[in-house]
Homo-oligomer: 218 residues x 2
DNA sequence: CGAAGCCTTGATGCGCCTCAACGTACGTGG
DNA sequence: CCACGTACGTTGAGGCGCATCAAGGCTTCG
C-alpha cells in the first residue's frame, strides 16, 4: 500500500477509547467492525456454554484484532476486554472486503497474522497436552514478559495488571495452584509479585523450569 | 478463477502416491511444496523436543495441506503421515506466491481455511483446559465420525485405521484410559470396536457424554 | 509359526483440584 | 482521610481422576 493510499485508508477509521475492564466486543456478537490496537493491552477470552473461560491471547499495541471478516465469519469468536485503558482504530466490516480487493497484499499479510496465531495456539495445545502445570505456568510468565515486559531495576515487569486467576486461565489450572507456584518461586528469588503485578527476576531459571529441568539452585 | 485458468494451474501440479504409514513431509523440513489431498486420510502430528507427540488434525480428501508458504514460513510446522494409501497433487512452493498475485481470491480463500483451523484449534484448547477425559474422548469420536464416517449396518464406522494410541494423542490422555473408556462404552452399546477400527453406534448418547451430562440409560 | 504390534485389565500412587478459612490491599463514600 | 466492603491472595487438608507400572491375551503379517 502506498503512502497516500494508506492515509486514505486511515482516514476512514474511527478512533475510540475503552476504559480498563470494559468490553470491546463479545463472543457471538455480530461482527460490525475490525480493529487496530493503538495503545494498551487487550485480553481475548473464550467461554464455554457452562461459564468456564480461558484466555486465548493478549493483544499488544500495533496488532489487528477482531478480524472476523478475514476468516469469513459474521460473528466474533471471542470476547475482547481492555486489560488497561486502550485506544483503538476501527473500520466497518464491509470495508475489509473492499480493501482486500484493492490491495491484495492486505490479504496475504493477514494470512501471516492468522497463520502465526494458529501456530501459537497449536504450541499451547501441545504444551497443555504434554507438560505439567509448573512448566506451563513458567512458560506463560516468560511469554508475557517477552510480549509485554518492561525493564525495571528488579527485573522484567509485566506491564499490565494480571491476577493469579488470569494466569490460571492461560494455563488450564486453578488460581490456587498458580498462587502456590508464585509463592514458592518468590521464596526462591525467581520472581517478585504483589497484587496483580508480577516481575520476572531470573528468567533463565524460569526457562529451566519451563523445559522441565530440575532447578539445581533450589 | 476461471475454468481455463484453473486447468492451467492444475497442469502445473505433480501427482503422487503415498503408501499407508509413509511420511509426506516432516516437521522442520524445508517447505518445497504445497499439497492437495485427492484421496485418503492424513494424520498431522506435532512433536515436542523430548519425543512426545499429539495429533493436530486429520486431513480428508479435497483439503489443502502443507501450505507453509501461505503463512510466510519456509519450513513445515508439523509431520504429515498417510493414514491410508493416499493420492496427492503438489505444486512447487514458489508457485504459491505467483498464484496469489494472479488470483487474489486465492489468498482470501486461504484466509478462510486457516481461520477455520485456528477456530478448531482454539476449541480444542478450551476443551482440553476445561473438560474431563471422558468428555474429550467422546467429542473426538464424534468429530471423527463426522469427518470421516461411513454408514454401515452397525452404525457409523470411522473410515481409516485408528488405534487407542491415536485417540489418546488427539485428546491429551493415555492409550490405557482410552482403552478403558471404549471397553466400558462397548459394554453399554455406545460403540463397537476392534483392532484399529471403531464404529459409533449411539451418537446421541455419546453427545450427552461429550457435554458432560449423565447418561441415564447406563 | 513365531514375533511384533495392538489391546485389555488390574494395582498403585501422586499431581493437582476442591473445599475451606483467613489475611491483606484497594477504592469508595461518608 | 479514615472506615468499611469487596476483590484478590495465601495456605492447609483431603480426596479423586487419571497417569504410571505391570502382566498377559489376541491379531496380523512375514
Amino acid at each position: 500500500m502506498e503512502k497516500d493510499e494508506l492515509s486514505e485508508f486511515l482516514s476512514k477509521a474511527r478512533s475510540a477509547r475503552y476504559p480498563k475492564d470494559s468490553q470491546i466486543f463479545g463472543q457471538g456478537e455480530k461482527a460490525e467492525a475490525f480493529f487496530l490496537l493503538l495503545d494498551g493491552h487487550i485480553r481475548v477470552l473464550r467461554i464455554t456454554p457452562d461459564g468456564e473461560q480461558i484466555i486465548a491471547r493478549y493483544i499488544s499495541s500495533g496488532e489487528l484484532f477482531g478480524i472476523a471478516q478475514a476468516i469469513g465469519r459474521d460473528t466474533y469468536p471471542a470476547n475482547a476486554i481492555a486489560a488497561v485503558d486502550c485506544v483503538t482504530l476501527s473500520w466497518p466490516g464491509k470495508l475489509w472486503h473492499e480493501t482486500v480487493e484493492k490491495y491484495p497484499t492486505f490479504a496475504t499479510n493477514t494470512n501471516k497474522v492468522i497463520g502465526g496465531r494458529l501456530q501459537e495456539t497449536q504450541d499451547r495445545l501441545l504444551e497443555l497436552a504434554t507438560e505439567r502445570v509448573e512448566q506451563r505456568v513458567a512458560s506463560a510468565l516468560l511469554k508475557l514478559a517477552n510480549q509485554a515486559g518492561k525493564k525495571t531495576e528488579d527485573g522484567i515487569l509485566i506491564d499490565f495488571p494480571i491476577s493469579r486467576q488470569d494466569i490460571s486461565e492461560m494455563t488450564g489450572t486453578t488460581l490456587h495452584t498458580v498462587s502456590r507456584l508464585l509463592s514458592s518461586w518468590e521464596h526462591d528469588g525467581l520472581v517478585k509479585s504483589s497484587r496483580k503485578k508480577i516481575t520476572v527476576i531470573e528468567g533463565h531459571r524460569l526457562l529451566l523450569l519451563a523445559n522441565g529441568m530440575q532447578d539445581k539452585d533450589r
